[in-house]
Symmetry: C2
């Protein structure tokens, strides 16, 4: 099967490559008859332009990249997919780069700047942990999705996220109001200055306000996967069996914890209440269904793309906070008397 180039088409249509290029790009300045002839030839040859050649020329071409770290977080991968969806409706072409959890997303951005000439980035579920300087090396506009980057007072940096601290507080308040006092928190590392740290801070605030001392030894670090959460819960409960509620910082973690509790002969929410975070679809179907904080996934996706596009057109960086919703379902109840 021959692969036709623009030159082949030009020859077959009896015009110049310039004209074919114009037709290809839907430019108005082509005679209708000429256009039609060229289009017919292109259809006959099954012609499709070579993407490399095009982007080699269009160095100014608007390319943006989505950088997603890790493949295991459903919430984040879905978020990235949605962004791709919204991006498709704009003129800018977006590419999704999924990198390993241990990889450095800023290095990746740097690489894509050169390799693919990316001119704007959205980091999905990134972490800042004090790497603000690295960001200065990146001149392109940057959007952090689901990451609070407010303190980063860099000119071309934006963020789109929920108010994680407030939501962490709300989750904890909900458990306290239900009557719980011995509450465990299953989250990530607390020292990284990311969304998880914010949720932790919010949870602590709720405890202080309510006069319920938060017991540091009930903070459990876990990766956000079913199996890690399961393992962490199996290790935690045998020694802290008096815990009556868990605030899990992701729905996936909540599910792993619930299964572990079940396997240790405890039922949810009767023996232990479990509160999730994110609002993934499965949470509605899981048994028990998850009480959780639902992040406005679609809104985050849409807004992130919108803000990046605006910045690529010279707009200012800004920090958008979107409202999240508390969803009460089955996994949380009052503690046993």
């Amino acid at each position: 099967m021959k692969i036709y180039t623009i030159r082949d088409v030009a020859k077959l249509a009896g015009v110049s490559v310039t004209t074919v290029s114009r037709v290809l790009n839907h430019r108005p300045d082509v005679n209708a008859a000429t256009r039609e002839k060229v289009e017919r030839v292109m259809a006959e040859c099954n012609f499709v332009g070579n993407a490399s050649a095009r982007s080699l020329k269009q160095l100014d071409g608007d390319v943006a990249a989505l950088i997603l770290r890790g493949r295991s977080n459903i919430f984040l991968s879905q978020l990235a997919e949605m962004m791709l969806q919204f991006a498709g409706e704009t003129g800018v072409s977006f590419l999704l780069e999924t990198i390993d959890e241990k990889a450095d997303e800023f290095q990746t951005a740097l690489r894509l700047t050169h390799e693919k000439r990316a001119r704007g980035f959205i980091f999905v579920g990134s972490r800042l942990d004090g790497r603000a300087q690295v960001l200065r090396g990146l001149e392109a506009p940057l959007v952090f999705a689901t990451v609070p980057a407010r303190e980063l007072e860099l000119p071309r940096v934006a963020s789109v996220a929920v108010d994680d601290r407030r939501m962490g507080r709300l989750a904890m308040e909900t458990l306290i109001q239900a009557g719980h006092r011995r509450i465990a928190v299953f989250g990530g590392r607390r020292d990284q200055g990311d969304a998880l740290a914010e949720r932790y801070l919010g949870a602590r605030e709720a405890c202080e306000t309510a006069g319920v001392p938060f017991d540091e030894s009930r903070y459990v670090e876990t990766r956000f996967s079913l199996s890690d959460a399961y393992g962490a819960a199996r290790a935690f409960f045998p020694t802290r069996g008096d815990t009556t509620a868990v605030f899990a910082m992701s729905d996936l973690v909540a599910m792993g914890v619930i299964r572990a509790l079940k396997d240790m002969g405890k039922s949810v929410p009767e023996d232990v209440s479990v509160f999730g975070f994110d609002g993934i679809e499965m949470g509605k179907y899981f048994l028990p269904s998850l009480t959780t904080i639902a992040q406005p996934q679609e809104e985050i996706a849409r807004k992130s793309v919108e803000v990046l596009l605006d910045m690529m057109n010279g707009g200012e960086g800004r920090h958008v906070t979107l409202p999240a919703a508390l969803i009460r379902r089955e996994s949380v109840a009052a503690p046993r008397k």
Copy 2:
């Protein structure tokens, strides 16, 4: 931030672009001192080659594409990710193209052949439904992953899948042996000659062999998502309440059905047993955990990549059948007396 080209590097290092190119591509024929000098300059400039320019020249470059239809099937997206993983270890560069469920994957392949010069394809979870002729238009080697394409006697076509018919039979046999007689099947459209049709045929065979008549009105068509399965089950059970078991052709469907049963006041497996398919991770954590047929995901991924690579090197097409495993967990039990 200046973007350096190979020419800039050449100038800075005091050599020709040819030499820089050689260093870039780790060719052996470069003087050690020269190589070192060039490498130092590249490091200083943060130089990264332009991918478009490279692939424009290397038209013979080995590019293969993974075509995944739909984003909602976790099993298939994970499969694609695994393939990417394995592909990374080979010399061939793979690109993943995720298309809409309603899009035509063969048209997509045709487009990628031109646009990205892809020279080999893996279709993840595709369907043949009588489009064998279209395939002739594609000269590149093709691998169908999780799709039985055995009947397709095309030279450059391969497939990697489990024996869906046998596994469908095994699932049904398991339910019959547990004592069930009124069994519903939740699957896809039966007329499409795909893996699902095979599972259906296998299930029917099991019924015939056991002398249990299969009631066609207990076949429920559903898309493979939690919400569709949920809706289908809510519509089905009120009129067919005597059903004691369900064979769901995907774990996701099984979970949707289980939640629906729960919401209708039935418990699983006490009132109704539910059998899944695929063996996704969540099935282990769901309550009840799913009895299912586990497809060897990693093996399918590895083998698909391996077969494609071999064919791209001139190897023959072949049809690989991999063993699947019956996993007995909580969602299937004997029917109530």
